[in-house]
Symmetry: C2
Subunit: 95 residues, 2 copies
DNA sequence: GTTGCATTTAGCGAATACCCTAATTAGTTT
DNA sequence: AAACTAATTAGGGTATTCGCTAAATGCAAC
């Protein structure tokens, strides 16, 4: 949980996560979207992976990074608990 | 927004926020709850304040720190956007 | 096995974060 | 104003983070 928020604390990593929202991407595609060296991006991807915010799978010679929604939801749960969203209120619907 | 997640990235600061959920507290009360020096806690409070996660008001000679829910909700909005905003199909998590 | 492409690891310097103690500011009371 | 309390700022040591370049690894095709 600590690594989760730590991973979220860097703008580049948040941007990577936002990119991944549309679907999995290869490391190179991600690196190409930034004005930084590829190894630097790999470092950020490792941070995201350690926080279990992304998972990886090989696809031939490239490696696909996929967003792990469950980790995002874990952070969400923490913040919702702080703000009171989703409980202690009568607003409740589940469809 | 960057300082928001950065503020959230430290366990002590998250714990402070959790304490403040129940209501405003003086700096000294917060510092007393931790096994760290008071100036260190002041540093964390400053980080929270810069992220606008807390606001302060004087109360005589002490200063009261209050949780600013709107900042929490801002983080919440970011994460909800990533996850698909409350389309929870099943609640199956254990912490 | 060697060449070539995609990606990661290794190693390093600079900047930032974290924690401490000592000194200082701000407000209250006398 | 001086003494007392609450809280912050200043300064410094160490750990961690962030970015880079160069070298290494993994896979696929020849």
């Amino acid at each position: 949980m600590n690594s989760l928020f730590k991973a979220l604390s860097h703008p580049v990593r948040r941007r990577i996560i936002a990119m991944l929202r549309k679907g999995p991407l290869a490391s190179g595609d991600i690196a190409a979207a930034f004005d930084m060296s590829w190894p630097t991006i790999t470092g950020h991807l490792n941070a995201l992976k350690e926080a279990e915010l992304v998972s990886t799978e090989r696809d031939g010679q490239s490696i696909r990074y996929r967003l792990e929604i469950s980790a995002v939801e874990e952070a969400l749960a923490f913040l919702m608990d702080l703000s009171g969203t989703g409980e202690t209120k009568e607003e409740d619907h589940h469809d």
